[in-house]
């Protein structure tokens, strides 16, 4: 240990996927403090409580320090595996031999499981699965974590993975339950500062949420809503905007959307006989023309016309008519939001949009639409995910507030590269039918437009069959359980698992465990958490303070405006015990299984490594060399990891045409999702053919939004009278941080992390007092959980709610698994096809429960 050492080392946090820049204070070889790096534009020098507490993860005595193998052949969620320490040599030999055999049999039998929480490092095992020859990788977040439908529309409308309000200019933010800038969501501390600045500037923030959350309590207004009905509220607002107030941005809709496209009575575009392009109606010439006809300026946005003897109505007219079904008075009964409030919010939104106004920024005169609508998991994590999300997105589109100053910004939709190198670089573009094709991270993930072919899926996530599915898939454990039923010619026999505590993130833990039980599981993990109860071999992983990451940024970690900022995540201390970074372990396994050259060529393609940075066959590269090449390929020879180790961050100003890219890109976005309809028909036919039509519900493949209640709304037993939902707290990340003593201390002080929140009046009717133990039984799973009740006026009277993923039970997490450390919501969530939104493969989190007072834990 170096005596007298006292240094601050720049790196990047990985306690969640915001990846804030940090400075780590190391004294005599030990980390003594972590602070935000003020040089970084991403976090602006701020950290959240989790970021500050990272050193307690580093020095947690419960961390794993040596490879382990199970001695108990019986697997179960509460069956002790009987761990026995083994050498790295034995562990790697066993794993490599099994993998070699598996690859020879059928490489598809491998599944890589990971989580978004350590995103950049989990890419590596997934790439390994890819080169191995398996299409199966799964981020286990479709339950609690993944934005699913939100990501789909992020691609289709914003060329982005997620969205943020333009806090520099937005004046009115309608926020459907997103903790943006208040402890979760993306770019957390950076957005916290930006939201605070926007509030000080005068931005009105209205939060629609069943819970008076940390976000809602700091807003101008909290509008309580019945869980799962946000989409219905958006439909009523669309109805008012289009049919009563008649406030919409007609010139935006004509120029930048498919609003003027003519739709036949069969629901499909009317197409030009010669070019096959969708037709629009030219008011000047009184005839139909392809949408991109050069001699046409006057497209009609509304109306009904006759083309080739067929009736054609504009997409916009169909939307406008369609939402008439949702008058505020009716929607008030669905949502419990008073009709007068719906009228008022819509009027405020319409007024604030300032349709027709412009603003000049850096010499560019741009549309100025200072309103945004934000939503994420809460609004769309339902059976009706696709159509809820569609309705919410269309509010922003109707007023033209998409990717222009003041509006809703795709989080880094466009990058024109570093001024010297021109890298990294991506840009949305025009695709078939004039519609937007997403760029950024999308092309290498699961891009959704142009539509993928509908084919029998060869992967457990069914993405080959469902072309609209973009995020984490709810189908993986369901298909794993019955592969033959889905015509999979193989089953999962090997699970390569890293950083995802999947029994605590994905619905009924017993059913999840049941799906995984038969596979040989190798887990690279920090702790012996619940997921490792199913493992056969556990490899001790390094935490973010001990490892070098492939990179420390992604499209959703850079702030939406201001400056581009790139970082390095470097080891601040040497790995403790016998820990090894999963990325280095994967390289070693690739070597031992004879896949090294193939792996290099895949990395070259994935990371865009070309000569002289490309990894060459026949060579052996260290992990550090690979990361260095990645940085130098992007930023030039002088800016390899040595440069980043010293300087910490590389930043440059964002251009107007990157942040407010819409007026600069010739591509329309859909407000009528014609291809969803076609996809639905194709999926239905295929499901019929495969004999799985009983579980593949295609009713939501609609081109326009409409309201469909969740199955929980059918629950008629009177004792199951409350809707249960979960929320995210700023103090914990999913199920990964509950063993951290500092966060535990903060969670004890916070009234909503470890307790179950119930409305005061509702609780009184049930004889429940503040602090009483309560039992919650799920109508859907029959499982129950227990925790203390926290009575609050700040929750919808028909709901109960709880935080993230507490209620651990692993006996190897001595702090997290104590009583009174919260409860695990997943016990309440059913894992079955009835509760999956098929178009987005989203798991429905809407559960009816019975809550009663009990004596103790």
């Amino acid at each position: 240990m170096p005596v007298g050492e006292d240094v601050w080392i720049p790196s990047a946090c990985s306690m969640c996927y915001s990846f804030c820049a940090i400075k780590v204070h190391r004294v005599d070889g030990r980390v003594v403090k972590i602070e935000g790096n003020p040089d970084s534009a991403t976090g602006q020098g701020r950290l959240c409580p989790r970021g500050v507490s990272g050193m307690m993860l580093l020095y947690d005595p419960s961390r794993i320090n040596a490879p382990l193998k199970r001695t108990n052949p019986e697997k179960g969620l509460d069956t002790d595996p009987g761990w026995q320490e083994i050498s790295w040599e034995e562990a790697l030999d066993t794993v490599s031999e099994r993998l070699k055999q598996l690859r020879a049999e059928d490489p598809r039998k491998l599944l890589a499981v990971s989580s978004v929480s350590f995103r950049n490092d989990t890419i590596f095992p997934r790439l390994f699965a890819n080169v191995f020859g398996s299409p199966n990788s799964w981020n286990s977040g479709a339950g609690n974590h993944c934005g699913n439908a939100e990501h789909l529309f992020g691609a289709l409308l914003h060329s982005a993975w997620c969205k943020q309000p333009d806090t520099d200019y937005c004046n009115y933010l309608l926020n459907f339950g997103v903790p943006c800038g208040f402890g979760a969501y993306y770019t957390v501390p950076g957005m916290a500062q930006r939201m605070a600045d926007a509030r000080e500037r005068g931005m009105k923030h209205v939060v629609i949420d069943p819970l008076l959350s940390p976000t809602a309590e700091k807003a101008d207004e909290w509008v309580p809503i019945r869980p799962g009905t946000d989409g219905a509220l958006a439909l009523a607002m669309l109805n008012l905007l289009l049919n009563e107030l008649k406030v919409y941005d007609a010139s935006y809709l004509k120029r930048y959307t498919n609003g003027p496209y003519l739709i036949g009575d069969d629901g499909y575009y009317l197409r030009d006989e010669e070019t096959g392009k969708p037709l629009v109606w030219d008011a000047g010439d009184h005839k139909a023309k392809p949408y991109d006809a050069p001699d046409s300026e006057e497209f009609v946005l509304e109306g009904e016309f006759s083309v080739y003897g067929y009736r054609g109505r504009t997409a916009f007219s169909l939307l406008k008519d369609g939402v008439k079904k949702y008058p505020p008075e009716l929607v008030s009964q669905i949502t419990t939001v008073p009709a007068a409030t719906i009228y008022r919010l819509t009027q405020e939104f319409a007024d604030a949009a300032r349709i027709g106004s412009t603003i000049t920024i850096q010499g560019h005169e741009l549309p100025y639409r200072p309103v945004a609508v934000l939503y994420f998991k809460g609004a769309q994590g339902h059976k009706n995910a696709l159509l809820n999300a569609m309705a919410l997105e269309l509010l922003t589109e109707m007023v033209g507030a998409s990717n222009v100053p003041g509006g809703l910004l795709g989080q880094n939709s466009r990058c024109l590269g570093h001024p010297e190198m021109g890298k990294p670089s991506w840009s949305p573009k025009e695709g078939p039918d004039g519609l937007l094709v997403a760029a950024g991270g999308w092309p290498r993930m699961a891009n959704v437009y142009p539509p993928r072919s509908v084919t029998p899926s060869d992967s457990m996530d069914l993405k080959g069959m469902i072309p609209t599915a973009s995020g984490s898939s709810a189908s993986t454990p369901l298909v794993m359980k019955e592969p033959k039923r889905f015509h999979m010619p193989y089953s999962i026999e090997f699970v390569l698992h890293m950083g995802a505590n999947f029994p605590m993130t994905f619905g009924d833990p017993l059913k999840v465990a049941d799906a995984f039980q038969g596979a040989f599981q190798v887990s690279s993990s920090l702790f012996l958490d619940e997921a490792t109860y199913l493992a056969d071999i556990v490899l001790p992983d390094t935490c973010y303070l001990e490892r070098l990451s492939l990179d420390a940024d992604w499209v959703a970690s850079n702030a939406p405006g201001g400056e581009w900022c790139f970082h390095l995540r470097q080891p601040v201390v040497a790995p403790g015990g016998g820990r090894r970074s999963i990325s280095e372990v994967i390289l070693e396994i690739a070597r031992r299984t004879g896949m090294e050259d193939e792996f290099y060529s895949l990395l070259n393609a994935y990371l865009d490594l070309e000569k002289p940075y490309a990894l060459e066959a026949g060579q052996h590269y260290t992990w550090e060399e690979i990361v260095d090449r990645h940085y130098r390929a992007m930023f030039g020879d002088e800016r390899g990891i040595a440069w980043f180790k010293k300087h910490g961050v590389l930043k440059w100003p964002k251009k107007v045409e990157e942040v407010y890219w819409k007026p600069f890109i010739k591509a329309r976005v859909p407000i009528y999702f014609e291809w969803f309809k076609r996809a639905g028909e194709q999926v239905a036919n295929l499901a019929q053919e495969l004999g799985i039509a009983d579980v593949i519900d295609t009713a939501s493949f609609q081109p326009l939004p409409h309201w469909r209640p969740c199955p929980s709304y059918e629950e008629s037993r009177p004792e199951y009278d409350l809707f249960a939902f979960y929320y995210r707290v700023p103090i914990q990340t999913f199920s990964g941080t509950y063993n951290n003593p500092w966060l535990d201390e903060a969670s004890q002080i916070d009234p909503f992390t470890y307790h179950i929140s119930i409305n005061t009046q509702t609780a009184r009717q049930k004889g429940i007092k503040d602090g009483d133990w309560v039992q919650v039984i799920s109508a859907a799973t029959g499982h129950s959980i227990r925790a203390r009740a926290r009575l609050t006026e700040g929750i919808h009277p028909e709901a109960m709610a709880m935080a993230n993923c507490g209620g651990h039970w692993s006996r190897y997490l001595p702090l997290a698994s104590q009583p009174e450390k919260g409860a695990c919501f997943e016990w309440l969530v059913p894992l079955d096809w009835k509760h999956v939104d098929i178009p987005t493969l989203t798991q429905d989190l809407c559960v009816k429960v019975k809550v009663s007072r009990v004596e103790g834990p």
């Binding site: 490489p107 598809r108 989580s115 978004v116 890419i123 997934r126 699965a129 890819n130 080169v131 191995f132 020859g133 398996s134 299409p135 199966n136 990788s137 799964w138 981020n139 977040g141 479709a142 974590h145 993944c146 699913n148 990501h151 993975w161 573009k429 695709g431 078939p432 094709v437 991270g441 999308w442 092309p443 290498r444 993930m445 699961a446 891009n447 142009p450 539509p451 993928r452 072919s453 084919t455 060869d458 992967s459 996530d461 993405k463 072309p467 599915a469 973009s470 995020g471 984490s472 898939s473 193939e598 060529s601 895949l602 070259n604 393609a605 994935y606 865009d608 070309e610 000569k611 490309a614």
Partner: protein, 102 residues
Amino acid sequence: MGFLDVAVSFRGITRGVVDAPQVQLRLSPDATVADLLHSLGDRYGPRFQERVFAQDGSLQSYVTLVVNGATVEGSDLGHRLAAEGQEQVEAQVFIFSAMAGG
């Protein structure tokens, strides 16, 4: 009029839709990326075609083609495989599995 010999290697899950890790093709000297992929599509049938092309015939964004060490832009189906006078080309086809999610 000569020929262009193209050595194609399939990487990762692409190998699940073809029958060998490598194949040798002979194309015309001015062959494009589209010519190569269609020729592979003819050889390997609908399964390959459906994975590589979107419904409208454009290249799926998760398919990457590397020709002589340089990545070809997905939209650039008209890109010529070889420079004037070049007689041999090495190409690698990658299909990336869906890797998105929370």
